[in-house]
Amino acid sequence: MDGGSPVPNSVMSGGPNRKRARVSETPPLRGNSGIVLFCGFVILLLQGCSQIQSSLEPASRTTALIADFWWGMLLVGMVILAGVLLLLFVGLRRGGPRGERPLSTRGAFLLVLTGGVVTPLAVILAMVVVGVLIGKEIAKRPESGPIVEVVGRLWWWELRYLDEEGDLIATTANEMHVPVGRPVRLRLISDNVIHSFWVPRLQGKTDLIPGQVNESWIEAEKAGVYRGQCSEYCGTQHALMSFLVVAEPPEVFERWLSRQAEPATEPESEAQARGRQVFVEQGCAACHTIRGVSEVGEIGPDLTHLAGRRMLAAAAIPNTRGHLGGWISDPQHVKPGNKMPSTVMEPNELQALLVYLGSLE
């Protein structure tokens, strides 16, 4: 439950291009009856774990409503399950060796009527009413606040911050910053396949469907880093099409946004200048934009302020120089099937490029 803390260390350390020797042990399985196992699972289910992508740890008003709704439904569901199984058990017991004691027709009729019709109807009515009320809260889109155009790509996220007139302020990728306590309006678009935008701790899913613009919104109540992930199957690298949402105080957010609007930092050292040259010479600029250097690349993420991001490759690996080097040299090893080709270059060229990219705060 550390919603207010800065980036958890665990987010920063991971990545699919390294294996960690951690032995996962099979949880103990004792008892040979399904009931024991079942109870074990329920206990497991009731435990809250600290996780950056768990819908059971809401960090916004709407997800908190949904989580409460879930706990309510779980309670009712467990009562129903226990009730039905108890009835079944009692019913079976009564026909033991002592002989048959079946229900009278009237008794059976009452059992079916109350259990099979009245109870489900009452539960359904309650569920539909609560569901519609919460649904209305989610559908109530804010009328003010920053606008972000979320563009689903294969397989990463482009984020375009717009002003009230709809003009572009800044473009970034895979890391969305939002002000705490203020709603952010989202315009969800895709020009390729269908994706789905989902940050479990902040907002339920909305799809990005080619040919239409869907709207959603997001409002973090607590500062923190939240992870989101594409939830509609979108091809080879669907699994690692993730992103981070960084919720920070409004003034920090405003500073961040105005920084993002600026062009890239000018090289300050010879190595950085050399790296910038490599960026252009190696053809990186064909796909990637660095505002102030080359603005033709539209296929890959905008790298203007790359060094300020916490993660690389759609939040799959931490943004360190080592990981960045590995990613540039052999992206297919890190995320098989992604659209970035391997680049062969001299070691000193790669070093210079890494130094330059590392300077793009």
Partner: protein, 637 residues
Amino acid sequence: MSVAEHDRPGEAVDRSSEETERLSATWAAPKGLTRWFMPVNQRVIGRRFVITAFVFFFLAGALAVLMRIQLMQPENDFLSPELYNQFFTVHGTAMMFLFAIPVMEGIAIYVVPMMIGARDMAFPRLNAFGYYVYLIGGTVFFGSLLFQAAPSAGWFNYVPLAGEEYSPGLGVGIWTTMITFIEVSALTAAVELIVTILKLRAPGMSLNRMPLFVWSALVTAFMIVFAMPAVIAASSMLTMDRLIDTHFFTPETGGQPLLWQHLFWFFGHPEVYIILMPALGIISTIIPVFTQRPIFGYTALVLSLVATGFIGFGLWVHHMFTTGLPQLGMSFFMAASAMIAIPQGTQVFCWIASLWGTRIRFDTPLLFVLGFFVIFIVGGITGVMVAAIPFDLQVHDTYFLVAHFHYVLIGGAVFPLIGGIYYWYPKMFGRMMDERLGKASFWLAFIGFNVTFFPMHQLGLQGMPRRVYTYLQELGWGDLNLLATFGAFLLAGGFLLSLFNALWSLRRGAPAGEDPWGSPTIEWATRSPPPCYNHEHIPIISGRWPLWERRGQLSIPVVTGLRDDRRETLVTTVLDATPQAVAVMPGPTIWPFLSALAASAGFLGILYQPSFFLVGFFGAAATFIGWFWPRRPWRDD
């Protein structure tokens, strides 16, 4: 034709009379080299459907185990993403299209005519055609895995991902054409079942005396007739988008990706009930047998089946709550989806009322039914939960959903199905399946199932999306995934044990006799395994539980007067089953097989060259001429 008192079959009759010999000669499946492709008898076709479907079940199950191994630990590299995506696509497609529907149809094809006292299905050749189409379509679809050409866009094939641009190559083409093809087979079986059930019932078996399994087969067949055309239309449109550049689903040129989803789920949700429905019929068949009392609430059970059939078509939009449709419209589908709980609840409580206070034989078939209760109720409760729009926005396309629908499909359909196999096996093969193996298989499968799928609820709530080939260690999903993989091995072991049991019992099982369970319905009034003509005389029915009502009496009234030198069966009226006519059935023939071959050649050919449809079209037309060449069997006397 006349009605005569006849000895109850099997009790005092020497069955090897001249009459039965003549019947055998008339109805026998052909011998010789071509015999594999000639039979049209419903028992042969039904058995082939069931066995083929189980082959696909075990293949698709093997894919599931491989996927569980990949997900056993975070960042595993046992399978490549491409292979994993192919596996889950083929697994889902095969389980839905190649296993669940055909196996239920196969059992219905095998059992229903015997249960209603008919000698065969209404259109035996169409029946055979449906099987070959299914066999070829299924084999090609599964074979695509071997040639690295399997589809990888998911069993739901959402466009534009499944379009030519994002899924080039043969994969999705094989999916769309083979699915169209296999659905044709489902439709033929459905039409067969409807006509057979409505027109070929034994005299006296009015609609309100029909066994509940026959009712479930009837409702299923009607659902297939209304649902399958939607997916055939959708997959034909997708085929055309891919092959001849139409633009049904491409947004740049005015197409609509959501159109696919509407068509697909208009079929796809009823599909779940199509799979579930026969299982409900199996449960209603097994419970009275093992309690030896009539089931409580026959009428309520029938109405529940029919209501489920109707409501099943009104809730497809709950698969699309995240697509940005208006909230108010979706609320209707939320209410409709939850409403299905009422007929299902009614059935569950009718069964509990039937089991209440009775002396029960806890044999394997009933064990699987009791296992169904636990699993299906959990699946039903989570089903109502995911129907709630706000909650669905969080769990849609997560492992919570994977857990939910496996609880419904395995618990709701596969467990009763295996119970049904244990129950009807003695009728099919004349031998009992082993009880000890059966019980061990049940417990292994039951525990394995819950260990596999219960943790997935929590994984989904913790944010694990489905259809991912890997996940980062930091997300904390590793332990539960490892547990699920462990469970998958238990579950697979449980099912394999039943497979072993079935094979072993073919030779070694105890001889069953005619009616080992003391069942009330008339498929148990003939030999086990049944002769090729089902019943030597069509019985006359005077109640819902014909064999129980005849207990202690030696005789059962039967219809006499049908000729035994050609394939005749009795046609009766739809409501009351009063005799109406005598139908003459066709005998063995190669034409359905040739038609299926010609149609397959066309369907497969268009993947390479769209003009190949001409081959299929003219080839099939030519074989249909042979098929329908008039022979006038009613004139040859």
